[in-house]
Symmetry: C3
Subunit: 170 residues, 3 copies
């Protein structure tokens, strides 16, 4: 097997891109659950398309402004939630395009409407590299399962970040 410096550099770049995309999506989950819209804006492409298909909802959005607005409304001060994405399967298509599969587990406590939603889903994302940074270009998921329950007694929340950092509902 012949090994060239250029070949090594290309293979190294692929691993660096995989790590960068994982980190991008990790920051994404951190930012949604903390309603960090300022940082989130820098993670998604201006033309990002979104298609989240739950059992009890369907969210389709055509660009970043719509996406950030959805997050601000959904991850409001009367919500406690957890969105964690596991098992990344990142495929680098070329120097500027990649795809990714992630396995989500999420719990969403809507304290105002007293609804608890828990489930899993498979994300299928597309990423693009612009000016040396990877961005989310398309994000979608479909449920494996989802369970929706009424919240009969309010949870004993001893810490609640979104209460002070999420958008206040009218």
């Amino acid at each position: 097997m012949t090994v060239s410096l250029a070949g090594i550099a290309r293979q190294l770049q692929v691993l660096q891109d995989i790590e960068a995309i994982k980190r991008l999506k990790h920051a994404y989950f951190r930012c949604v659950d903390t309603a960090n819209l300022a940082e989130l804006e820098g993670l998604v492409h201006p033309d990002v398309t979104t298609c989240y298909v739950g059992g009890s909802y369907r969210i389709e959005l055509g660009n970043r402004a719509e996406f950030l607005d959805m997050v601000a409304n959904a991850f409001n001060a009367e919500v406690a939630c957890r969105h964690q994405g596991h098992h990344p399967e990142i495929e680098i298509l070329d120097e500027q395009e990649a795809t990714g599969i992630w396995y989500l587990h999420d719990v969403f406590l809507n304290l105002r409407e007293r609804i608890r939603t828990e489930g899993t889903a498979l994300y299928r994302d597309r990423y693009v590299k612009q000016d040396g940074r990877w961005l989310i270009r398309h994000q979608s998921y479909e449920r494996i399962y989802e369970i929706v329950d009424p919240i009969t007694t309010p949870p004993n929340l001893t810490a609640h970040y979104l209460a002070s950092h999420g958008r206040r509902l009218p």
Copy 2:
């Protein structure tokens, strides 16, 4: 420190192998929870050995056919479940052999028998590389904890992938 191109290439290969094995196991978890037997077959070695020790069960299997049969029966249309493996500790032993530790969290709703099993476990796997692809050669886990509860009221499943994709029970 002397750096050689061959030395760099070998170290790069180790990182590529680690990433490939993570991705293999990520696909494994996706395939079991979606009862994707066709894809799962390509992830495990024909002679794969399995030893899963739960608190309320023990699964020992001697090859791939037995393993796929177990998955088809266990992940049937009357099950909703989640198996997510975290914290990979992958050790590349040589160019064709590796080991891995994973920290499982799983929830298994057996809707027919009305039993909910939740727990954690440590996987200890062995992997082999054949024709350029890593495969699972041995898979085992032991529980850290397991809790088994009756399902008294059926869960309000608003999405349920296995109901339409899992094997139908007689």
Copy 3:
């Protein structure tokens, strides 16, 4: 773009360091949940500082001995728990220093006091490399949410590792 062997070697080292730090933290979570103090001792720096801010507690510790003592007491034989850290965002500052963000999900069943604590938190760690090995130098987290409930009926534990491996309470 000019590519030099030394430049490649440096970039490869960064990826190796990121993988080593992930694996360090993965071992950390495995060791705390199994009360493996012997292995845990080798993962943290002798001068490690700890600051864990929960909703219902605050743990501040000044060195490794204090940290190991806290783990031995907290992860005792009357506890069943799960601490899993996701979404690593590792930043290599130089050849001997790095930082990391992790997104924790934890469940802690205190069977003696009959209290269940579940929550999420963001870790902000610092790591140092000594004698070729990365160690945790500072570990801290702050909650995103935390829910504390009484345990009204004891869980049906069909497996319970800490019961036989955790410190026996007086």
